[in-house]
Symmetry: C2
């Protein structure tokens, strides 16, 4: 056990030194490093999977997929960084006759970043996850506080990155990983200490509203406030329109039940609320959903804390006034298992009771029955910010309910036309981040290469000698990146 201040101070000092080094690296060098990390993770075999399985209860096939996703993140972010897209090189050449200076701007790392990994993705959103990859891609050193629910998994991943740092001969502070039990004090104290440290310049967080908001508040109350990107989940409502309910209530119920209970409901894009207008279609949907949920067996949740919170929140919501049970898994759960459950309520109750739109992390859904589309509109208007909103709709519905479609556009980062929101693809077009409280800043994403943008800031050089400019801004453009020169995008040299 270490004194937290001494231990963490040491990590921050190393990260600060390493950031000075990273400022001198090019995007090509950082991309090469990121591919090398991906190579290292590829080499991690059964031990990694078994360890993660043991620590998180996630099934091996899922973990195998998540490992591939994690490698894919490092590689696709590396390629994006190497392309120069996040460098955003802008060059305005001097024009002495007009009194214009030579000004060149690039996006550069914001400084040392502290990452708090998630419990539900031990690879892809944790120690070697998207936040770490995007921060290093941006040119930032990273300190990861490993999630206490999977310390061994995190350590294996951290070792892969640390080994890559050694292979490259980079300063050790480029990447640091520590566990809560390395230091005295609670997780909250440690997180607060790092977020408040003057040498830390940004924070990436995936987890609960309580945790994310606490870090956000600490960061804003610093003498020098710093950006915190906290992805804090949401209820990801599904609005089902009558045409769709009438056409395919049963398949929709199957899709919804699958999405709601996938991974024991432990996804930030889990569709926790389903809204429809009363009628035959919705009745058929309810009946079908009842059967679906009935037959889905409980499975072990990520850790005892999540299980306990699930039980508590599930019970709290289920016992609210105007709430009735629609269905529950026929299989009783043992300690630690999440037993799927869906309740139903009226739009009036849902609108009147904000608790019913709170996220319950786990396989739990609320079906909201509206009298008419006016009530649906009120629900849409009252919604807080969401990661996703799904519209189970036909083209006619879009035309007939323009008001609802317009409102939901302001409430989420990603809008789905049919389908289900679970499954967050790692592509350029992905937006994983929505209005508060799903995230602390809707202008950024934490999935897809654009996640890099959170950790860069623009830096302009005026009349700077070419030899001292970063490679990305030098006349010769040896990196061959696209730059905006006097307002025109070009890859040519100057």
């Amino acid at each position: 056990m270490n004194q937290p201040k001494v231990y963490l101070e040491g990590l921050v000092n190393l990260a600060s030194e390493a950031f000075q080094f990273l400022k001198s690296t090019t995007i090509a060098e950082r991309a090469a490093f990121m591919h090398a990390v991906a190579d290292k993770i590829e080499l991690l075999g059964q031990e990694l999977l078994d360890t993660a399985h043991c620590e998180t209860a996630l099934p091996l096939p899922r973990l195998t997929g998540e490992k591939a996703r994690t490698i894919g993140q490092w590689r696709s972010y590396a390629n994006a960084v190497a392309s120069g897209i996040y460098t955003e090189a802008r060059i305005d050449l001097a024009d002495p006759e007009k009194g214009k200076s030579d000004i060149r701007k690039l996006s550069t790392g914001i400084g040392p970043v502290v990452v708090f990994g998630a419990s539900n993705f031990p690879f892809a959103f944790s120690t070697a996850g998207g936040d770490t990859a995007s921060a290093i891609g941006a040119g930032c050193s990273v300190i990861v506080k490993g999630h206490p629910a999977h310390p061994k998994t995190s350590t294996i991943m951290a070792d892969a990155i640390t080994a890559t740092v050694k292979d490259f001969g980079w300063p050790e502070g480029v990447f640091a990983h520590f566990l809560g039990n390395n230091v005295e004090g609670t997780d909250i104290m440690v997180g607060a200490y790092l977020t408040a440290h003057p040498a830390v310049k940004a924070v990436g967080f995936t987890g609960s509203y309580r945790g994310g908001k606490a870090l956000f508040d600490i960061a804003n109350q610093r003498e020098e406030p710093i950006p915190v990107f906290a992805e804090m989940g949401s209820v990801n409502p599904v609005f089902a329109f009558t045409n769709v309910l009438n056409e395919r209530a049963e398949t929709l119920a199957k899709e919804y039940a699958t999405s709601l209970t996938m991974g024991v409901g432990q996804f930030c894009t889990n569709p926790g609320v389903f809204i429809g207008v009363k009628g035959d279609g919705l009745d058929r949907f309810k009946k079908a959903l009842e059967i679906e949920i009935f037959s889905i067996v409980p499975a072990t949740m990520l850790n005892p804390g999540i299980y306990t919170a699930f039980e508590k929140n599930k019970t709290a919501l289920s016992t609210q006034g105007g709430v009735a049970v629609l269905s529950e898994s026929a299989t009783e759960s043992t300690e630690g298992q999440g037993r799927p459950k869906v309740v139903m309520t009226s739009a009036k109750s849902f609108i009147a009771n904000p608790m019913l739109s709170e996220e319950v992390f786990g396989p739990f859904g609320v079906v909201v029955e509206a009298e008419d589309y006016e009530e649906v509109l009120v629900i849409a208007q009252q919604l807080k910010g969401q990661l996703t909103i799904t519209l189970a709709a036909t083209k006619e519905d879009v035309r007939a309910h323009e008001d609802i479609f317009n409102v939901v556009k302001d409430k989420a980062g990603r809008l789905l036309f049919n389908g289900m929101p679970t499954g967050v693809e790692v592509v350029y077009a992905m937006q994983h981040g929505g209005p508060f409280p799903s995230c602390t800043d809707p202008r950024f994403t934490s999935v897809g290469p654009d996640a890099v943008k959170r950790f860069v800031r623009p830096l302009a050089f005026q009349n700077w000698p070419d030899e001292f400019l970063p490679a990305e801004l030098k006349n010769d453009n040896k990196l061959g990146i696209t730059r905006m020169v006097d307002g025109v995008s070009t890859t040519t040299r100057i």
Copy 2:
């Protein structure tokens, strides 16, 4: 006089309605609107200039230049918006075999924006200034609180925008302008009310640290925190290296004196601190600066409040321990005039007394004499975030003092190699925004077309029917913008 709540509530409601309309406009339509605003401002003749001259005491040639700058801002931001650069359209096409969805993302307006204009640029950073232009370009409705120091000027500008809104048949809430005396209550109360209003989604501010930080805190303490971009000025240090001092102490003194006193020192990039190492060069610089400042005549400041604050802060800094007067204008000032003054101090005093690195808004400078470059390095390390840092240096200095150069890169948004920081060109490569406290978020700029980025957020559409997608994301790409399709930049249709 209106009850503030009733009056402001009305403005916010109109802005919210108009935002719904703006969401349906294309970048081409908004660019056309912005050019039309520029046309209207061009037509404003002597009355505008005379009014502004009367209200701000700024000379007519300066105001003529600022009017041209303002028009240039609207046009260049319009062209940038029309180019699609801030739309950042990203399309990842479906691949059913791989289970991939069709996902398309664009950047869209964040919502209604409240703008607080600056006193020192009645055109370019005020009612019809860069914040308003960039917010409208982003697709946001705007509510401007006109600066109380130039209400008539603001009203003329507001009328030009309002007339354009009418010409286009757009909802009136696209743009609103009001003055403090429209409503009861202090400026602070009104600003706080708007910033706290749930329908307001972002704030743009140019002004004092006190004002900007207050809005930032209010915005972060909302139930739904919102981004505030506040540009709050800085002391924009000039680090002069001995080679340069030895080579051209006299011309440097002339450049520095000119920059320091230009516009009665009322620029956010005013170089309030000058640092050099003791020696012949610095002695010659001081002697030359003494003469320069001596001969610069006082001029009327923007308003009595700024004059009073200047006098107070100038006196406070001048009377600190270890501070001596180097020079003062030989011409005594009358009430309301800023009399140029430069004081000098040792690096030790400067390092020990944080007050000496506080901004004094007006023609006042602090020359800091260091014993050696180690002291200069400590000053650089202690610096708070700046809009600009200027290095009066030769190439040899960069090589010899890499440590200092590395440190200052973390402390500013724009780094000048020689020259002076006043004169903020409106170009893509401009960065007007630096680490806190010069700004509330170093990841954005308030000058140059990139200013638009502050007010957009990404929104992804998954499996959305083409006919309901925004024009920027439709297959046909009728707007002809560059989009990233499956990771490749292209202007072709799909």
